[in-house]
């Protein structure tokens, strides 16, 4: 029998749910959310009318029932219906002295637990927490081996057993109970910036392949949320890659998320190899890409170029990873578009900007914007253009995305170029001298600029090769 935990993503992580006859340990440091997770598992089972026995070793049952109310759960109804028993087990009643020796077993709590399980026919037993319970014993080793009997006896009753166990930060080796349990759910918290980020993983899962990645684990008033790390929201992406290994290396390992990259080209250099290489790299990593299309950079041309270099992006198009935001009707030809661009007004640009930002907000993994700004500079008034660029940059930073903005520096005024350079975090410049192309980095938020390097364009992916 499989018991859903009530958390879809967690069910997926433990291969469909908690299995009866198996024992799971939730491990984590203090405050990681072990008890909360076990309480949500309890609720998940109760919602399927599966009886649950919840044993707490630290907190009085009445306190737990009060505590879960702060998460919008009401255990009282389930208790009245006979689906739930919340119980406290401790080594001794409060205020009583105990003398301990090392010759004992835990058959009393096994028998007591079994009796309570029988009373409600419990299929899920939660024991919170084993660490606190064991710590009460003077002879912890005996208590631990006694607890192994507990695990064996309870799982024999065709019930799933969930234990919570505290892991010390320094304690990286597996503790005794980790060998005996069938699954280990681990919650880890780390401090990133000033934010405590929790991650959940399943390092051990008997009878199934454990998934090999950590997911984000979020507890808030609405409950528990687990975000699959295959599609992390952009806000947690710390570093992006351009997809050109040499360029990443020159830029000091990559691009910090939230960067606006200005790529300056002269009118003669083709920026498409760089554009296509980075774009294809983003798509390969399942990142969403937004292309702010215009005369130079429009859907038909991009698809044509991808076909030419034999990169298949059909699946990404079907999945909607690639979004084109067109200023013009997509069916027009380049010549027509060029003509139409003469009639574009500031209002049109604003609506395009709004559309762009909405696309950015809609799906969180859409993290990369591409755009050729050359036309926009010439169409809009100076102030409108700078306002538009500032708005775009602000949104990119806010959403921790990356914007690649291409610009022909020969076609715009020096003043505007200077203003753009101020706003941009990274400036990459292409130049051409005597039929040799050079790439250089004039500015970088990480400080990793570099002098001109020879760059070669190739016919196959990766299309850009930096030499020297």
């Amino acid at each position: 029998m499989n018991i859903s935990t009530g958390i879809k993503e967690l069910d997926y992580m433990i291969d469909g749910g908690l299995r009866t006859g198996q024992c799971y340990a939730i491990k984590g440091t203090a405050g990681a959310g072990k008890t909360v997770l076990s309480l949500f598992m309890t609720l998940g089972a109760l919602k399927q009318n599966i009886p649950v026995l919840f044993i707490s070793t630290e907190v009085e049952p009445s306190k737990i029932i009060d505590y879960v109310k702060s998460f919008g759960m009401d255990f009282d109804d389930y208790i009245k219906k006979g689906l739930l028993v919340v119980d406290k087990i401790a080594l001794k009643p409060q205020g009583i002295n105990v003398v301990q020796t090392d010759k004992f077993d835990l058959s009393a709590i096994i028998a007591r637990t079994k009796a309570k399980m029988d009373a409600i026919k419990a299929k899920l037993v939660v024991f919170d927490s084993i660490s606190a319970f064991i710590a009460e014993f003077q002879y912890e080793k005996t208590a631990r081996s006694g607890f192994m009997d507990f695990i064996r006896e309870i799982t024999k009753e065709d019930a799933a057993l969930v234990l919570t166990a505290e892991s010390q930060i320094s304690q990286e080796h597996a503790t005794l109970e980790e060998f005996l349990v069938d699954g280990v759910i681990k919650i880890r918290s780390e401090l990133i910036g000033n934010q405590l980020v929790k991650r959940i993983s399943v390092p051990k899962l008997r009878s199934a392949q454990p998934i090999s990645f950590e997911n984000r684990f979020i507890i808030n008033k609405d409950g528990i949320m687990i975000l699959r790390s295959e599609n992390p929201p952009t806000i947690y992406i710390q570093e992006e890659k351009t997809g050109i290994a040499k360029l990443d290396e020159l830029l000091g390992g990559g691009i910090p998320a939230g960067s606006v990259i200005l790529i300056e080209i002269d009118g003669e250099t083709n920026y498409f190899p760089l554009f296509l290489t980075t774009l294809f790299h983003q798509l390969k990593r399942d990142k969403g890409v937004i292309i702010h299309s215009n005369v130079h950079m429009h859907s038909a041309r991009i698809l044509e170029e991808f076909n030419r270099v034999e990169c298949d992006i059909t699946s990404h198009l079907n999945e909607g990873n690639l979004v084109f935001i067109d200023k013009y009707n997509r069916t027009v030809t380049a010549v027509e578009a060029r003509e139409m661009s003469q009639h574009i007004t500031t209002d049109d640009m604003i609506s395009v900007t709004v559309e762009l930002m909405e696309a950015f907000t809609r799906t969180e993994q859409r993290s990369v914007i591409y755009g050729d700004l050359t036309d926009d500079v010439n169409i809009l008034s100076e102030t409108d253009f700078l306002r538009y660029f500032a708005l775009q940059s602000f949104n990119v930073k806010e959403k921790r995305g990356v914007a690649y903005s291409f610009i022909n520096h020969n076609a715009i005024s020096r003043e505007i170029l200077a203003r753009l350079r101020t706003t941009a975090d990274i400036i990459i410049r292409f130049s051409r001298v005597n039929y040799t192309n050079y790439i250089e980095c004039l500015k970088s938020s990480t400080g990793a600029t570099f002098l001109p390097k020879v760059v070669k364009f190739r016919d196959k992916y990766p299309l850009v090769e930096i030499i020297g």
């Binding site: 001794k92 002295n97 003398v99 010759k103 004992f104 077993d105 058959s107 009393a108």
Partner: protein, 86 residues
């Protein structure tokens, strides 16, 4: 005043018969003490009421406990200590 010693035992406990003998001897010597032997597999309610966790457990009249098996001297010492001090 009669005082009761509660001795919690189970059929699987290998130390229990020995402790039981010791306790019986002690009770014989002290007429005001009475011994009640509780098999937790038969009387789980009592174990629940007294919040028994481990076997063997001796519950003294003042509710103090001895958890685990020990030799006769140790048990006598503890009993003397608790019954006098407690």
């Amino acid at each position: 005043m009669e005082m009761k010693l509660l001795f919690f035992t189970s059929p699987t406990c290998s130390w229990c018969p020995f402790i039981e003998q010791v306790l019986e001897r002690i009770v014989e010597e002290a007429p005001h003490l009475e011994l009640e032997i509780i098999d937790i597999t038969k009387d789980i309610e009592k174990a629940e009421e007294m919040e028994i966790v481990a076997i063997p457990t001796i519950v003294l009249p003042n509710n103090q406990r001895i958890i685990g098996a020990a030799d006769e001297r140790f048990i006598r010492e503890q009993l003397d200590f608790y019954l006098v001090m407690g």
